[in-house]
C-alpha cells in the first residue's frame, strides 16, 4: 500500500454536540484492499466519525477527500454517489418485504422494474464474495446474521467501494462471525476498502490490517495490526494500562435459591417464547444465560420478576432464612416485594424500563423506595443520600444528583441502575446485558460489583451476549436456543465453540 493514494482522506474533522466534542481534528486515511479497524471505547467518537462519511452528520470543520478530490457529503445519497456505504448497528430493513425488495428500495431506475435482473445481480454479488442470501426470502423470516448480510449486499448493490460496518459482530454467534470475516476478507482481496468499528480487541487482531484508535474524539494511534498487541491497544484506548482478566472467586456455601420448573411463556400473539424451561439458581454463584438475542432471555427474566404472563410452570423462591418456598408466578412486582422476596432486576432497557431518563438521580433512586411509610408525601431525603452514596461508591461521573439520568453516559447510567438494585441487599440479582455498550473501565466495575454480590451469597443470574465474558465470569452457563434449554455447562471447563453450537442447535454437537 506504500505510495498508493488513499480512497478516503479525512483531515482535521471536528464535530461537536452542544458542549461535547465528539471528534477533535481527526485525521484518518482509508486505503483500498485493506481492512481498517476503528477501535475505541464508547463515546470516543468512532460512530460519529463514520456517520460523517456516510452523510448522516455534517462536520463542523475539516475536509474530506475521496480519491484526492475534496467533497462535501450532505446526505446518505451523496455518500452512495461517492461509493461509500455504511452498515449500521441497528438494521434499517422493511420486515414484510423480501431481501431483493429491500436491496433496491429507494433506488431510482427507468420504467419497468425487472425483478429477475435484480435477483441475478444479487446472486452474482453473493457468489463473488461468498454470501448466502435468497433474494426472495422475507426479512421477517431471517435470522439476525441473514439480515446483516442483506444490509451488506444492499450497499454493494449500490456500487459501494468503501464499506463501513458499525460493530457488526455484536449480534452474531462465533460461527456467524467467522463467516462474516471470511466474506470481508474476500471483499478486501477484491480491492474494496473496509472499515470495521469495534471495541473487541481479539477481533481487531483477527481481521484487520491496520488499526486506528480513537480516545475522547482524538486519533491517538494508527498502526499496522501486526506491529501491536492487545495490551498496547488497550493502553491507547483507555489512556493507561488496565488488567484484562475478570475475577472469578470460587463459589461458597451454595444453596438453591430460585427453582424454575417447566416454565412456558407465550407472547400476546400466541407465539411460544419459552418452552419447558427448568433450572435452579444457587446462592453464591453466577448463573450465566447465553443465547442468540431474542431466544427468550427477556421473557425468562420478566417472568421471574412478575412482569410477564406465564402459560404454565412454576418459579419458587426459597427464603434464605426460613427455607420456605414462595411461588412467584401470578404475582406482580409489588406483591413479590411485599412478600419479602429480595429480588433485584437490572433490565436490558435501562432508560426505558429500569430508570426514567428525564428524572434526576434522586427520583430514580426513589423508584424502589417511594412507597415506604404511611405519609401521603414521598420521602426524598433517603433516596437523596442513597444517590449520593451510589455516586461516591461507584464513581458515577455526574455533575450532581439532580442531573437527569439521560444526560449521563451509558456506563454511568448503568452504575446508577445497578447501584440502586444492589442497595436493597437482594438475595437474587438478575441482570440483562449488564455491560452492553459500556467501555472497558465501566464493564470491569460492573463485573466487580456482580462478583461482590456473589461473594455475599447472592444468587446472580447474568444474561450476556459476549461469550468470552460469560466464560470468564460465570460459574455455570445455561444456553437457550429458541426458547428451550439447550444445555447447562460448567463455566470453567466449557469450550466457546461448543457453547456457540448449542446456541444455534438444541443440545449442540449432540443434536447434529
Amino acid at each position: 500500500m506504500e505510495g498508493s493514494v488513499p480512497a478516503i482522506r479525512m483531515r482535521d474533522i471536528t464535530k461537536t454536540f452542544g458542549p461535547t466534542v465528539a471528534n477533535d481534528r481527526v485525521k484518518l486515511d482509508i486505503y483500498r484492499g485493506e481492512i481498517l479497524a476503528l477501535l475505541g471505547e464508547n463515546g470516543s467518537g468512532k460512530t460519529t466519525l463514520m456517520n460523517m462519511l456516510s452523510g448522516i452528520y455534517f462536520p463542523d470543520a475539516g475536509q474530506i477527500f475521496v480519491e484526492d478530490k475534496e467533497v462535501s457529503i450532505r446526505s446518505p445519497k451523496d455518500a452512495y454517489d461517492l461509493g461509500i456505504g455504511m452498515i449500521h448497528q441497528h438494521f434499517k430493513l422493511v420486515d414484510v418485504l423480501t431481501a431483493a425488495e429491500n436491496i433496491i428500495l429507494g433506488m431510482t431506475g427507468k420504467g419497468r422494474l425487472d425483478m429477475k435482473a435484480v435477483d441475478d445481480k444479487i446472486r452474482e454479488i453473493c457468489s463473488l464474495y461468498g454470501f448466502d442470501v435468497d433474494p426472495k426470502q422475507k426479512i421477517y423470516d431471517m435470522s439476525v446474521s441473514q439480515k446483516q448480510t442483506v444490509e451488506i449486499v444492499k450497499v454493494l448493490y449500490r456500487g459501494a467501494e468503501i464499506l463501513i460496518l458499525d460493530e457488526p459482530t455484536a449480534v452474531l454467534t462465533p460461527q456467524e462471525t467467522d463467516k462474516l470475516f471470511s466474506v470481508l476478507r474476500n471483499m478486501r482481496n477484491d480491492g474494496k476498502a473496509i472499515v470495521i468499528i469495534t471495541h473487541k480487541l481479539h477481533e481487531v487482531e483477527e481481521i484487520s490490517d491496520r488499526v486506528v484508535v480513537l480516545r475522547r474524539g482524538q486519533n491517538v494511534g494508527d498502526v499496522p495490526t501486526k506491529e501491536t498487541n492487545a495490551a498496547e491497544m488497550t493502553n491507547m484506548m483507555v489512556g493507561r494500562s488496565v488488567s484484562l482478566n475478570i475475577n472469578r472467586p470460587e463459589p461458597k456455601n451454595q444453596k438453591p435459591r430460585l427453582v424454575v420448573e417447566n416454565l412456558t411463556v407465550k407472547d400476546i400473539d400466541g407465539v411460544t417464547k419459552l418452552s419447558d424451561v427448568s433450572f435452579t439458581a444457587n446462592s453464591g454463584e453466577i448463573l450465566g444465560i447465553a443465547g442468540i438475542s431474542g431466544c427468550g432471555q427477556r421473557e425468562l427474566l420478566e417472568a421471574i420478576a412478575g412482569l410477564q404472563c406465564v402459560e404454565s410452570g412454576s418459579v419458587a423462591y426459597i427464603n434464605p432464612e426460613t427455607e420456605a418456598k414462595i411461588e412467584l408466578i401470578g404475582k406482580d412486582p409489588c406483591a413479590i416485594s411485599s412478600m419479602g422476596v429480595a429480588l433485584s432486576f437490572v433490565p436490558e432497557d435501562r432508560l426505558g424500563m429500569g430508570l426514567v431518563g428525564n428524572m434526576d438521580l434522586t427520583d430514580n433512586m426513589m423508584l424502589r423506595s417511594y412507597r415506604c411509610g404511611n405519609s401521603p408525601f414521598a420521602d426524598r431525603k433517603s433516596p437523596n443520600s442513597l444517590a449520593k452514596r451510589v455516586v461516591c461508591e461507584l464513581e458515577v461521573n455526574t455533575p450532581g444528583v439532580s442531573t437527569p439520568v439521560r444526560k449521563l453516559s451509558g456506563g454511568n447510567v448503568q452504575k446508577v441502575l445497578v447501584g440502586r438494585e444492589i442497595s436493597s441487599a437482594p438475595s437474587v440479582l438478575m441482570t440483562a446485558y449488564a455491560v452492553r455498550g459500556l467501555d472497558i473501565n465501566s464493564s470491569y466495575t460492573i463485573y466487580d460489583l456482580i462478583n461482590r454480590q456473589k461473594e455475599q451469597g447472592v444468587a446472580v443470574i447474568f444474561v450476556g451476549e459476549d461469550l468470552d465474558v460469560l466464560l470468564e465470569l460465570c460459574d455455570r452457563i445455561l444456553v437457550l436456543c429458541g426458547g428451550k434449554v439447550s444445555g447447562i455447562v460448567d463455566g470453567r471447563s466449557a469450550d466457546k465453540r461448543d457453547v456457540g453450537m448449542m446456541m444455534t442447535k438444541l443440545g449442540g454437537e449432540a443434536g447434529k
Binding site: 452542544g18 461535547t20 420478576a305 412478575g306 413479590i336 432497557d349 426505558g352 424500563m353 417511594y370 408525601f377
Partner: protein, 371 residues
C-alpha cells in the same frame, strides 16, 4: 458524481441545555418581537398608531377597578382549567375534554341552584355545589380513562367526543330550565334571591373565585411535586414500562389521575356558573377548555407559572375586545394580534431547545444568541 458541493446554508442542532434565565430572556425577546410584528401589521392594515392601540389594550384589561376584577376573574377561570389539565398532561394523557368536564360541572351547579336554592344556607349550598360539580367532572373524566386503561382506546378522540355529548346534554337542560319561556336561554338563575351565588367577600364580588383557585394552585403544586401519587403520575407519564417494572398499577393511576383532572375542571364549571355568569349555556366553557391546554403546556405543568400565562392570555383577549370596539375593528383583527403573539411565544420554545447553525459559522457560533 457531484464533487465540490457547498455546505448546507442552515442546519438545526439540538441544544444541550440552556440556563433558566436565558430561557426566560429568549421568551421575552419573542414577546418583544411579536409586539413589533403586530405593530407593523396594525399600521399596514388600518394605519393606526400601534402604540395607541397597545395603550387601548392595556385600558381594556386594566382600565378601571371593575375591568381589573373581570380580568382577574377570567384569569382565575382559565388557571383553574389549566390546573385541572396539568395532572392529566403530566401523565401524558391527552385530556382535550376539559370543555365537556366544565359543562357537566356547570350543569350540576345550575341544577343545585335551581332545585336547592332557598332550602339551605348559602355556605352549605356552596359546599354542596362544589362537591356535586367536582363529582360530575370526575365522572366525565373517568369514563375515557377507564376505557383507555382497560381497552387501550385513544383518549384524545374519546375526550373530544365527550365534549359533544356534554354540549348536547347542556342544550337539553337549557331547554328544560328555559326562563322566560320561549327565550331558549336559562336566564340569570335566582336573580332576586341570589341563592347559590358567590357572596361578596370584603365587598369584592370575585374574591371567592380567587381564593378557591389559589388554594387549588397550591394544593396541586404540592400534590404533583411532593406526594407519592404525584410521583406515580410522573413515572407513568415518562415511561409506562418503568412504572410496571417497579410495580405501579398503571390502570389505577390513569383512572385516579383523570378523576382528579376531571374534578378540577368540574369545579371550574362551578366557578363559571355560580361565581361569574349565574347562568348556564352551551358557551359556558367558551373554548377555554382548549385555551387552557396552552396554559398547562407553556408552564410545563408548574401551577405557579400558569398564573402568568393565564394572565397574559386573558389580557390579550380583553385588550383585543377593547380595540375591536374602540377603533371599530372587527374581531378578526384583534384575533390576529393574539395569534401573532402566541406564535412568537411558542416559537421561542423552539429556540430554547434548538439552535440554528449558518454556513461558515459552524465553529464561531458558541454561545451566540440565535433568535
Amino acid at each position: 458524481m457531484n464533487h465540490k458541493v457547498k455546505e448546507p446554508f442552515v442546519r438545526i442542532t439540538k441544544r444541550d441545555s440552556m440556563p433558566v434565565w436565558r430561557g426566560w430572556l429568549t421568551r421575552l425577546i419573542g414577546l418583544v418581537l411579536a409586539l413589533i410584528v403586530c405593530a407593523i401589521v396594525i399600521f399596514a392594515m388600518v394605519k393606526l398608531n400601534p402604540l395607541k392601540v397597545y395603550g387601548a389594550m392595556w385600558q381594556g384589561a386594566f382600565g378601571s377597578t371593575k375591568r381589573i376584577w373581570v380580568t382577574t376573574r377570567d384569569t382565575m377561570m382559565l388557571l383553574c382549567i389549566g390546573i385541572g389539565l396539568a395532572s392529566a398532561f403530566k401523565m401524558r394523557f391527552w385530556n382535550i375534554g376539559a370543555e365537556g368536564q366544565i359543562l357537566v360541572g356547570g350543569i350540576a351547579t345550575a341544577a343545585c341552584m335551581i332545585y336547592l336554592g332557598g332550602t339551605m344556607p348559602t355556605w352549605l349550598l356552596l359546599v354542596v355545589m362544589f362537591a356535586v360539580s367536582a363529582v360530575a367532572g370526575a365522572v366525565w373524566g373517568v369514563i375515557p380513562a377507564f376505557f383507555k386503561a382497560r381497552f387501550g382506546t385513544n383518549e384524545t378522540l374519546f375526550t373530544l367526543m365527550m365534549n359533544y355529548v356534554a354540549i348536547q346534554l347542556t342544550s337539553y337542560f337549557v331547554a328544560k330550565w328555559e326562563n322566560p319561556f320561549g327565550s331558549n336561554t336559562v336566564g340569570v338563575i335566582n336573580q332576586t334571591t341570589k341563592a347559590g351565588w358567590f357572596p361578596a367577600i370584603l365587598n369584592q364580588q370575585y374574591l371567592l373565585n380567587v381564593i378557591i383557585v389559589m388554594a387549588l394552585t397550591v394544593i396541586v403544586f404540592v400534590y404533583l411535586r411532593s406526594s407519592k401519587q404525584g410521583y406515580e403520575i410522573s413515572v407513568v407519564g415518562e415511561s409506562e414500562r418503568t412504572a410496571r417494572y417497579i410495580g405501579i398499577n398503571v390502570r389505577r393511576v390513569i383512572i385516579r389521575t383523570m378523576m382528579i383532572s376531571g374534578a378540577i375542571c368540574g369545579i371550574a364549571g362551578f366557578i363559571a356558573v355560580s361565581g361569574a355568569s349565574h347562568t348556564i349555556s352551551t358557551s359556558t366553557a367558551g373554548g377555554r377548555g382548549f385555551t387552557a391546554i396552552i396554559v398547562a403546556w407553556l408552564a410545563k405543568f408548574n401551577t405557579f407559572v400558569m398564573i402568568l400565562i393565564a394572565a397574559l392570555l386573558v389580557f390579550l383577549e380583553k385588550g383585543a375586545m377593547q380595540i375591536a370596539s374602540q377603533y371599530n375593528l372587527n374581531d378578526y383583527a384583534s384575533q390576529m394580534i393574539t395569534g401573532i403573539i402566541l406564535f412568537f411565544i411558542l416559537g421561542s420554545e423552539f429556540f430554547i431547545n434548538y439552535r440554528l447553525v449558518f454556513r461558515g459559522n459552524a465553529l464561531r457560533e458558541k454561545g451566540g444568541e440565535t433568535v
